[in-house]
């Protein structure tokens, strides 16, 4: 393993976040390796979404030291650094007013890709996500599962170093969930690290290398069942269905 690959993608120490005068997050240390998949579990209101949004740069921590790709930075600088590199997906994804193609092109436009290049990349991604038949459909008219797959495609086309998934399979049927798991496995193979936040963790354990639990804003280790910290991903990327 090269020096670069050995370096963690992101390390956070002493992270604190308060809302309305109440401390909602107090994380002593969090380390995310490259290509790693972490299952983040916890009850509703335990701070999972807040932590993911901080890691995505959408919220700025009150305190904390962030080491991103070897550079140590304060929370505000870290938020600027993480935005666009780390992609956050909502439980119910937001679709911009436009077609599926326009939604997927959004991030590429922000990166200044010309329209010819956009079309090529989008065509490839739609084939990957099996969404080619929906390309010209208004994105807001899709089903929940289709929207989530569009959101994943919209994220993958940007090749994010970290994907932060907030309960994304919560409202899906079994088929959509299976397709989504396959896509996430592909994303990991493409080199993205993934953090899943969920309170229904059983279906996702097979996808993950380690499990962390948030309890009242504090992070605690919660080893995966069977005593193994690392569960290898199946070659075909197909994960086990809900156990």
């Amino acid at each position: 393993m090269s020096q670069d690959n050995a370096q963690p993608l992101l390390t956070v120490r002493g992270l604190e976040f308060a809302f309305g005068g109440r401390r909602v997050l107090d994380v002593a240390q969090l380390r995310i390796a490259r290509g790693e998949a972490i299952l983040l579990v916890g009850d509703n209101g335990s701070g999972k979404t807040t932590l993911l949004k901080i890691l995505a740069g959408l919220l700025v921590a009150a305190r904390g030291e962030f080491t991103c790709l070897g550079s140590t930075m304060a929370p505000r600088a870290a938020a600027r650094f993480c935005r666009g590199r780390h992609v956050y997906l909502h439980q119910s994804p937001y679709m911009f007013d436009g077609t599926v193609e326009e939604n997927i092109a959004y991030g590429l436009k922000q990166r200044g890709r010309d329209s010819a290049q956009q079309r090529i990349e989008i065509r490839d991604m739609l084939a990957w996500a099996e969404l080619g038949h929906l390309v010209h459909r208004p994105a807001r008219q899709l089903s929940t599962g289709e929207k989530q797959r569009v959101a994943l495609t919209r994220a993958r086309i940007l090749a994010p170093s970290l994907l932060l998934l907030d309960e994304i399979t919560a409202n899906m049927d079994a088929d959509s969930r299976r397709r989504t798991h396959t896509m996430i496995a592909d994303l990991r193979r493409a080199g993205s690290s993934v953090v899943f936040a969920t309170h229904d963790h059983a279906p996702l354990e097979a996808l993950c290398d380690q499990r962390l639990e948030l309890a009242a804003g504090r992070l605690v280790d919660a080893p995966l069942p069977g005593g193994a910290d690392v569960i290898p991903l199946r070659r075909d990327g197909v994960t086990t269905e809900p156990r």
Binding site: K53, G84, P93, D97, Y106, L158
Partner: protein
């Protein structure tokens, strides 16, 4: 009844004949109000966005103040601008009183609170996830703001139309700071007020028809842009 019919007939003749005075009044009206709305709209959108998306001390007070300012009568705005621009006022050296720019300043002040309040309401009714999604997909804050505004564009367009409707039809402020000077500062509402006071109704009716036609065109335009008006399914 005969008088009204006669005046209406004359009004239509005036409009059709391309009367120079009539069309100069219409020209002044649109020139002043369009410039005012062009200046006020970006300021109001930025202000409304700040109120909706930024957290800073005094934000609630500011929202309440803006809502309160919507109720300020046009003559009070006119009086304030008059005092500011009059020779002995703090901005007297600019010699703007009784010019179109004085009218523009008055109209900007008049429509800003309405524009901010309506744009703020439109942005508030939007979805916070639009802002977060834009940022996480790599948009900078400026582009993310433009995306959020595009997502609520019909509400913002309605705000601009309502604000334009307020200033193109207001008489108090324009009369006070513009002086109602023909070919310079006489606009549709001040002309209607003047002609009516003289008992000359034809020009007033003609100008009223122009205002009404414009209001209808704007609202049809907005309706068309909004689509069927049904709840999205």
């Amino acid at each position: 009844m005969n008088e009204l019919t006669e005046a209406s007939h004359q009004a239509l003749q005036l409009l059709a004949s391309g009367d120079g005075v009539l069309w100069s009044i219409i020209g002044v009206s649109f020139s002043v109000s369009l410039r005012a709305i062009a200046i006020a709209t970006p300021l109001a959108l930025l202000g409304a966005f700040a109120l909706a998306y930024l957290r800073f001390p005094g934000r609630r007070t500011l929202v309440t103040t803006v809502n309160t300012l919507m109720a300020v009568p046009a003559v009070v705005v006119g009086l304030t601008v008059y005092l500011l621009l009059s020779r002995s006022g703090p901005l007297g050296a600019l010699h703007l009183l009784f010019t179109q720019w004085a009218m523009i300043i008055g109209q900007v002040l008049l429509c800003l609170p309405l524009l901010i309040a309506m744009a703020h309401a439109a942005l508030q009714s939007g979805d916070q996830r639009a802002w977060e999604t834009a940022l996480t997909l790599g948009a900078n804050r400026w582009r993310a703001m433009c995306t959020v505004m595009y997502e609520v564009r019909f509400g913002l367009l309605a705000a601009v139309i309502a604000a334009f409707g307020r200033i193109i039809a207001e008489v108090g402020c324009s009369m006070m700071v513009g002086g109602n000077i023909l070919y310079h500062t006489r606009n549709i509402p001040t002309a209607i007020a003047l002609e009516t006071s003289k008992g000359e109704f034809a020009q007033g009716i003609a100008l009223g028809i122009v205002l009404l036609a414009f209001a209808l065109a704007l609202n049809f335009g907005l309706g068309y842009a909004q689509g069927s008006g049904e709840v999205s399914r």
